[in-house]
């Protein structure tokens, strides 16, 4: 029997807090977030990088956490859905998802919200095509996407008013 792989320590910042994770090097970031840190807002939909339910931001980039070995986030800054709101103050994207009906069953919502937040960070005023492309890696079976597009537009307007 081969010798068992040993767990490693991985240091990173998660939602603004410095954390030391203890996991097998090839453990999926998704599992470590959910199981070790109990950040269960990040969801598993397909386990193969197609649906985007497990989306998180790693150093500002939107990634599928089911495809990221935990060893790869050594020194990285990670944001999950739990870190999007500022204490009780929801992010403009979250507010817009509520008012526009962008969340139905809610299982794709954490990933979709992060994808929208990431899109608006990269492109503050996206046109319709940019919104579609920016969210095309996140699948939603409930909404038909229309209300999600509306939410992104409304979040831009809110950001504009606040600027």
């Amino acid at each position: 029997m081969p010798e068992r792989v040993k767990t490693v320590e991985v240091r990173c910042t998660v939602n603004g807090e410095e954390r030391t994770l203890h996991a097998y090097p090839m453990a999926r970031l998704l599992d470590v977030l959910r199981e070790e840190l109990r950040l269960t807002g990040t969801k598993e939909g397909c386990g193969e990088g197609e649906c985007g339910a497990c989306s998180v931001l790693v150093d500002g980039a939107l990634v599928n956490s089911c495809l990221v070995p935990v060893l790869q986030v050594e020194g990285a800054t990670i944001k999950t859905i739990e870190g999007v709101a500022n204490a009780e103050q929801l992010h403009a994207v979250q507010e817009a998802f509520i008012s526009c009906g962008g969340a139905q069953c809610g299982i794709c919502t954490p990933g979709m919200v992060l994808a929208a937040v990431n899109l608006l960070e990269r492109v503050p005023e996206p046109d319709a095509a940019a919104i579609r492309n920016g969210l095309a890696g996140n699948l939603c079976r409930c909404t038909g996407y229309m209300k999600i597009f509306e939410a992104v537009v409304r979040a831009c307007q809110t950001n504009g008013e606040q600027a």
């Binding site: 269960t40 008012s99 962008g102 969340a103 139905q104 809610g106 299982i107 409930c142 909404t143």
Partner: protein, 743 residues
């Protein structure tokens, strides 16, 4: 008193939890000492189980909880209608995903390795994999004739019309299976032991279905089984009957292990093993007069039910009743069958048989129109059903139905006539071909026939001394907005703030059985019970003199406090009673099939690319009459989501079968529409209050699944002049169709 809450887009009750990741789905829950359960499935589509071997010496088999059919304490079937489906195959297997052995262990990686090390030896028996082979009885695999259920609907005298007809038009139409693809896979956690009985938490639509099934499986009394719905990440019908299976499996393991057991399917297992939309074929033979009036329709409708009966009889029923559509035809004969194949049972999926038969009809009527030299529009206008007319089951339409007006509005919104002309003029010279098409249809809300009478659904309402009101119902929030609309309906009836009402978590220990969350019944049927219970609660307070006719939310709070101080709990219940004049004959399949129908016209605009053979939907307009709209944002969300699923059904989603098993069971190779694929979906409601719905509402959830596929294929026909009568229509099958047409 508040302004009307009905029709107002109040915030979704659980919206904040959902956008912050705080909602608790089943996989977010765990228990101390919890084990992980897995399912070992049949390696063959049909045969006799000869031997089960636990191989691989490196696996510590003695640490595992192992369950087979021999361990079932009660009845080894999933209680539903015919009770023919076992929880665990005992002697025979009938499809490749049939469960044979269950394993549980604390190490979820080890249990997966163990699953792959169980070898089930099968002595094969001949199997049937297609609807045609089943109908032709190539092999008898179920009962005496492979037929789970058949229906026969008869109106007028069809036999006499053929001689009188100016034209007789025949056609054959086929639809494929469709995967549910809710983004949260099926999952449950069970705690089960002799003392406490069985408790299951899970992702589900129908807690009382699971409850009923577990009672039989464990042979326990009512109060020893408890089922609790967790936040559910999409259902669409896929979590109607299947959760009874996975809940039973987890409970069997927990019962034997004496520890909590969690079973969460991964995507591949969920896609392969759980229920999909029934594949179908429909044959039409239609008699028409020279001036384009329907004389007679003969319809033969068949669905593939898979290996066990499960819900196929009811899916078939709805498909049968919708097969003749919203048209006034004096003579109709519909014969239908649900037949067996050696595939996992097909099941409930939004639309429930109607998308299949409506696809056939709305394609076929374009052919009939052409045969009598009319446009698809004009032919339908001459045959639309109106108030006072009778449907195929003899149901007299008692509401105002104005399909003409819906059609006018849909055509105006899409600029239909101008586009027809423009596309006809431009297509010849352009490489890409554009087309526009539509479908007109209806969808019945609530259980079919006497279903609602048998269900006898109950809803409760409970007020606290603080004047907070809780709705007690087993109807589940699965994304469609149950929590929000129930709160609106209750608050409106009570004349109090929306914020004061909440909906209890569906838990069979705490809520009455308001029936399953299916059949577009949650708003119209259960919502009406919420309204009645709320009016009852208000009447209780008025009757005791604790409230005056006019009161504020503060008065209401004080009245609740007084009542509870004097009389104890303040609770009211309401039970379903059929609206007057609803009659249904189950034997003859005649009468009022549904309390109400929603009516709709959907228009699709497409571009076909002859180089890539791809079809894109450029614009989609959905116009419908669904009674009063309770919540405009949620209602539009239902339509948009259903249309997107319908676009997938028509153009993207193809289940690839091999020996009765789905082999493209990954999101990588089973393609559902993404944000980049979906056209603008424009939704419009005509509101005509329905007398027996809450605040005038009818059902809405399933309707949008019915229209997109025929509208899109009608648009493709308009674009390239090719009549294609099967879905899904992927570029590969377009290539074949076009080569066949040019051969």
């Amino acid at each position: 008193m508040t302004d009307s809450l009905v029709g107002r887009p109040v915030p979704r009750k659980e919206g904040r939890r959902k956008v912050t990741g705080q909602s608790r789905y089943i996989d977010d829950m765990s228990f101390p000492e919890m084990l992980y359960g897995v399912t070992v499935r049949s390696p063959a589509p049909r045969g006799r189980i000869k031997h089960i071997a636990f191989t691989d010496d490196t696996i510590p088999w003695d640490e595992f909880t192992i369950v087979t059919a021999k361990d079932v304490p009660g009845a080894n079937y999933v209680a539903l209608i015919l009770n023919d489906q076992p929880y665990l195959a005992d002697e025979f297997v009938n499809h490749m995903e049939e469960a044979v052995v269950l394993l549980a262990h604390a190490d979820k990686h080890l249990v997966e390795k163990a699953r792959r090390s169980v070898v089930i030896e099968i002595e094969p028996l001949p199997a049937v994999f297609s609807l045609d082979d089943s109908v032709n009885r190539k092999e008898i695999i179920w009962g005496e004739d492979n037929v789970f259920k058949s229906f026969h609907v008869e109106k007028g005298n069809v036999d006499e019309v053929w001689a009188k007809a100016d034209s007789i038009v025949e056609g054959e139409y086929r639809t494929g299976a469709q995967e549910q693809l809710y983004i949260e896979n099926n999952g449950v956690i069970a705690v089960a032991n002799m003392d406490e009985g069985v408790t299951v938490w899970g992702s589900m639509q129908c807690p009382y279905y699971v409850h009923k099934a577990l009672l039989k499986l464990f042979n326990l009394p009512d109060d020893k089984v408890r089922v609790i719905q967790m936040e559910t990440g999409g259902g669409f019908g896929g979590k109607e009957e299947y959760p009874s299976m996975i809940a039973g499996h987890a409970a069997l393991l927990a019962w034997k292990a004496g520890k909590p057991v969690k079973i969460i399917y991964d995507r591949a297992e969920d896609m392969a093993a759980t229920t999909k939309r029934h594949p179908s074929w429909t044959k039409h033979r239609t008699a028409v007069t020279r001036d384009g009036k329907l004389l007679g329709m003969e319809i033969d409708f068949v669905v593939d039910g898979g290996a066990y009966a499960t819900l196929s009889a009811v899916v078939l029923s709805r498909g049968t009743i919708h097969a003749a559509g919203p048209y006034n035809c004096p003579n109709v004969r519909i014969k239908s069958r649900a037949v067996a194949t050696n595939a996992p049972p097909h099941g409930a999926f939004r639309g429930f048989g109607a998308p299949q038969s409506i696809f056939a009809l709305e394609r076929h009527l374009n052919k009939v129109a052409r045969a009598v030299g009319l446009t698809p529009e004009e032919f339908r206008r001459r045959n639309f059903i109106h108030e006072g007319d009778r449907t195929a089951t003899g149901q007299v339409i008692r509401e105002k139905v104005e399909l003409d007006k819906l059609l006018d509005r849909a055509f105006e919104l899409t600029d239909y006539h101008a586009k027809l002309e423009r596309f006809a003029a431009e297509n010849a010279a352009s490489q890409k071909k554009k087309g526009i098409g539509f479908a007109t249809f209806m969808h019945g809300a609530g259980f079919t026939g006497s279903g609602e009478k048998f269900l006898e659904s109950v809803v409760g309402l409970e007020a606290t001394a603080e004047g907070r009101v809780r709705v007690l119902a087993a109807s589940t929030e699965i994304g469609q907005g149950t929590n929000t609309i129930f709160s609106q309906i209750a608050a409106e009836a009570l004349g109090i703030d929306y914020e004061l009402v909440e909906v209890s978590q569906p838990d069979t220990a705490n809520v009455p059985n308001s029936g399953p969350t299916v059949a577009s019944r949650t708003c119209m049927i259960v919502g009406k019970l919420v309204e009645s219970a709320a009016l009852g609660l208000k009447q209780t307070l008025l009757g005791r003199g604790l409230l005056a006719e006019k009161y504020s939310t503060e008065d209401f709070k004080r009245a609740c406090a007084h009542y509870i101080e004097e009389h104890g709990a303040l609770k009211t219940f309401s039970q379903y009673k059929a609206p007057p004049g609803i009659e249904w004959d189950d034997e003859k399949y005649q009468g009022d099939a549904y309390g109400a129908f929603a009516w709709a016209v959907y228009v699709a605009e497409v571009t076909f690319d002859p180089v890539t053979y791809e079809t894109r939907v450029d614009d989609f307009v959905a116009v419908q009459e669904v009674g009063r709209v309770i919540h405009p944002v949620l209602a539009a969300g239902q339509i948009e989501g259903g249309v997107a699923q319908g676009i997938g059904y028509a153009l993207y989603e193809q289940v690839v079968w091999q020996d009765g098993r789905m082999i493209n069971n990954q999101m990588t190779n089973y393609i559902m529409p993404t944000a980049a694929d979906i056209p603008p979906i424009r939704v419009f409601f005509e509101e005509q209050p329905y007398l027996y719905g809450p605040a005038g509402a009818k059902g809405i959830g399933e309707l949008p699944m019915d229209g997109p596929a025929p509208a899109i294929l009608n648009a493709i026909e308009n674009a390239i002049g090719l009549s294609i009568n099967h879905i899904p229509l992927l570029p590969e099958s377009m290539l074949e169709e076009m080569e066949a047409a040019h051969a």
